[in-house]
Symmetry: C2
Subunit: 319 residues, 2 copies
């Protein structure tokens, strides 16, 4: 392995936007666009917590960037830039790094964001830690927050739920699925950036689903000081997920508590239903109405008999 | 230990600026100041690489923020915001976290920057990884780069050199020093932010000294496509460092190759000498002229007989 400066020059300089000054300075320099706010998020991924050490390096990179872009999507911000903090084992291979850079490039090209800086360090314990800071733009004072839900709003989710958690089970050998769909949902989540940008002005609150539907909708409720009621039989489940759940019915709760789908959960006034259906068509993204917002606090999940589903786990706990 | 949301609420929310939206949203939202560029840097610190696991938690936090603010100082940018990515062992203690937050608060209060977001995760290997992204402002098109040095410019450094590397030796028990000065220079570096902001418009290129004088001046030379000649007997050495070096003369090279001092090395036209002396007085920071910029490439270090000093190590290599 060459030194960190050669490593940056070989693998990361080709990914850099001009604001990164060739990745040879102490910092990047941005000229903000007049009339826009900057939306900034930072998510950290750690080996054997957020991904498996033997996941392909391009999918690890894709996921590390995707989870940050997903935060921007939830806020309605267009991705512009990112910084990469990379902590690697001292014996990391060049081929791993080349593949990692390739994974970043694929998602950069798909979303239009550029690398502008970062830091590369070694670790003595062999852990891989990827810390990305992503920066997007949104017209001033229009960022969608978690705090904007109102009583009577509908609750929507994009895509299907539980796929990534089931995909992790398949990848770990605990579950069996025909086809690659579930594993690909775990390995290479697709952030909803184009749709997210289009939701500005239409939706009242939004979050991305990283910790699981109940946990993330719960964050919207807490921030908005309201409650949500959602219906189990409205939750969108993919055909691949249904196939696995038929064989493993005890995994059903992953639909509402499994993390890592990186879909959006958002609220909107009833008057916006048609507009939201149009957006679903325009962007070819399934959008499903799953419940509503009310006074009170917490998230209530009702089964088809109208009984509360007992929820044991509402998201991964680190500590 | 409580869960990560309680942890954020207890220890980090008190440090947050309003742009961080109470640290309960997916992202922060900044309204850039008209007429200013944003300067953004990201440095990652890893246990047993950048700090010792048993260093006091407040000094670890101080250092993690300081090294990022030092990058802003080198660019002439005023610190405004930072995001904190924190990867911790699963059995981390509340007392460690309280002390860590205290260390951040001390440097926030001293420099005026605010926490606006981040992420807290666990690691299974027990390593601590702190990834900070710091954001500063500078009047548009005035950021000091590494690439602006010109032939004939003077080379200056702030403060004294080699203290932190010697301090690490003292802390590790390899070296003996009376007093706390060297160890405090290692544990709690003071970024030169006020001075740095004042250098905009006066200096031609600047970097902070994180990898060692020769390495960081080398970065200026590479970016500017020029060379530097500096003189060993002009390099500023503290009294505490001289005391240790008398006993351990073989450590002398740490003055030019030791990292972690977080002083500034900068270049300026000869016509700016008086102005730079004034700034030294105004901010009560020692500023020493140590050499000059010329055509060619690389950094030449000359001893008092005018011979090149052989340099074996120009900075820590991670890989």
């Amino acid at each position: 392995m060459t030194d960190e400066f050669d490593l940056i020059k070989t693998y990361f300089k080709p990914l850099a936007g001009s604001e990164g000054l060739g990745l040879i300075d102490d910092a990047a320099c941005l000229q903000p666009t007049a009339g826009f706010d900057l939306v900034i998020t930072k998510d950290v991924l750690v080996s054997d917590i957020h991904f498996l050490s033997d996941d392909p390096a391009d999918t690890i990179a894709h996921k590390a960037l995707a989870v940050n872009l997903s935060d921007l999507a939830a806020k309605g911000a267009k991705p512009k830039y990112y910084l990469l903090g990379l902590t690697l084992p001292q014996d990391i291979q060049s081929s791993w790094l080349a593949e990692f850079a390739q994974g970043l490039k694929g998602l950069q090209d798909a979303t239009g964001c550029k690398l502008i800086g970062g830091d590369t360090t070694s670790s003595k314990t062999g852990c891989i830690v990827i810390s990305i800071t992503a920066i997007g733009e949104v017209a001033e004072n229009t960022m969608i927050t978690r705090a904007g839900a109102n009583k009577g709003d509908d609750v929507f989710v994009t895509g299907t739920l539980g796929d990534a958690a089931l995909g992790l089970g398949v990848r770990s050998g605990d579950l069996v699925s025909d086809g690659e769909f579930l594993v690909s949902r775990y390995l290479k989540p697709k952030p909803r950036n184009e749709l997210g940008v289009s939701l500005v002005g239409t939706v009242s609150a939004s979050a991305d689903i990283s910790d699981g539907l109940l946990a993330d909708l719960g964050h919207i409720c807490t921030a908005s000081n309201l409650s949500a009621t959602i219906y189990e039989d409205l939750l969108p489940v993919s055909r691949s997920a249904e196939d696995v759940l038929k064989k493993h019915p005890s995994c059903r709760s992953l639909v509402w508590s499994g993390g890592d789908d990186y879909e959006l959960v958002f609220t909107a006034p009833k008057a916006a239903r048609d507009k939201i259906q149009e957006k679903s068509n325009d962007f070819n993204v399934l959008i499903t109405r799953i419940g509503h917002i009310d006074v009170g606090n917490g998230v209530k999940l009702l089964d088809d008999a109208g009984n509360s589903v007992t929820v044991e786990n509402t998201g991964f706990k680190h500590f």
